[in-house]
Subunit: 228 residues, 2 copies
DNA sequence: CCGTGTATAATTGTATACAATTATACACTT
DNA sequence: AAGTGTATAATTGTATACAATTATACACGG
């Protein structure tokens, strides 16, 4: 989905600006001038404009006609809200996935869990990028398995939104282990066609992430985090 | 929010194309050529491109790099899914609104209900546009009152998505009366700070809409409906 | 006759040019 | 000296021009 994002210039500009908003380089209420950003990235105004228009739809940028584009940003309350909404929707997703998942998708999920366990056993310090990547993959397969374009779309959006917060969250080894254990439980419930349990577990799984975030304080949201 | 949509050319092109997708003029898998649409609307390719990029993000259009933009459309299953998701989220919204609503917003809601009752009593045949408009207003105030930018954003999106289906749905006078009655109940629960009840009622309110849609069959989704 | 390759046309991707709007600076009036 | 009006600059909005990619047509070889 949205594969053009990688190939086209506009797509890459879009991703770059979003990244700069999420990692705090562009701060709330900053004015995003088309020329400035274009020169920064070595492109003309056109792809920058397209990117800004898309970001407006995502809610990260607010455009005032004939005036300019301003960073809306994402507050820690927004992150909280997203997790609460996600916990409901991931539950629904697990329910629908239980009803529609294919054997191939079940295999994929198995594979991901195996890989996750491999990566976490491998090193003392957990490889954050790898684990985060696999966690994302696990959920996105569930999105597909739900067989609901709409639900998948919303959840994917949210997922991208909080990816920064998540990257800092899942990094603790303890949490990573628990997360994988939860994934395994969800997968078992799905395999055994226990829709109610799958829903409940997926719901709680996201709630756990919230707990974890709260424990850390996640002040890093919106600040430099050395990624990239 | 998104006020530029009305002023800028790109914004109007965006709305026009979306309308044409939702009302079925542009059908699933249709290729949307920038030049063609531009000539149709009497504008250049630039605003059309911007509009198509935005529509891709909304999921109504799918863009293949260097090839073209294709209508994704919205199936009746999509509409079903949206209502189910909405019923959960409207519940959450009512809960949060109960906790955060202001006196002014309560007054606005009162006003809307009064207006709705006025319009429905006025004529034998219910004025669909008016009632739909007021229904939309009622919900959007609740979105604001929830004090959650994120939740409001998602629900607004969904609302727009299904506005066509809704327009045909709420049109029956019986349903319109019930809908207003449900709004009144929700409002009372909010005013009495009964969060659980508000959530439950808002949830059921959307469920009712689903029931109503199913009863009608809503085959009109995606077909010409003479609006505009 | 079918398939392949090349030339041509059509379409998208990006950059630039021009128009319209908004911000800024500074002189002028009071 | 403060406020206002106008000229100028800066920025956004739209259109057009050019480049790159993809689709189409047709000739050629099998």
């Amino acid at each position: 989905m949205e594969e053009y994002q990688d190939h086209s210039l506009s797509g890459r500009v879009f991703q770059k600006i979003r990244e700069n908003i999420l990692n705090g380089k562009y701060k709330e209420h900053d004015e995003l001038r088309e020329n400035t950003i274009g020169k920064e990235l070595g492109v003309s105004r056109t792809p920058v404009r397209e990117a800004l228009r898309q970001l407006e739809l995502e809610g990260l940028v607010s455009i005032v006609p004939n005036k300019g584009a301003y960073v809306t940003g994402i507050s820690s309350k927004d992150v909280d809200d997203i997790y609460i909404i996600r916990s409901m929707l991931e539950g629904l997703c697990a329910r629908w996935a239980t009803e529609n998942i294919t054997a191939a998708q079940l295999d994929e999920l198995d594979e991901i869990i195996l890989l996750s366990e491999f990566h976490i056993k491998k090193e003392g310090g957990v490889s954050a990028d790898q684990v985060t990547e696999l966690d994302g993959k696990f959920h996105s397969i569930l999105y597909e398995a739900s067989n609901s374009k709409i639900l998948g779309h919303v959840l994917t959006d949210f997922h991208k939104y909080v990816q920064m917060a998540r990257k800092t969250s899942v990094v603790s080894e303890e949490r990573a282990r628990k997360s994988i254990r939860e994934h395994k439980q969800i997968l078992r419930a799905i395999r055994e066609k226990d829709t109610d349990l799958a829903e409940q577990l997926a719901n709680e799984h996201i709630m756990q992430v919230i707990q974890n975030l709260k424990k850390q304080g996640y002040e890093q949201t919106g600040g430099e985090n050395g990624k990239d």
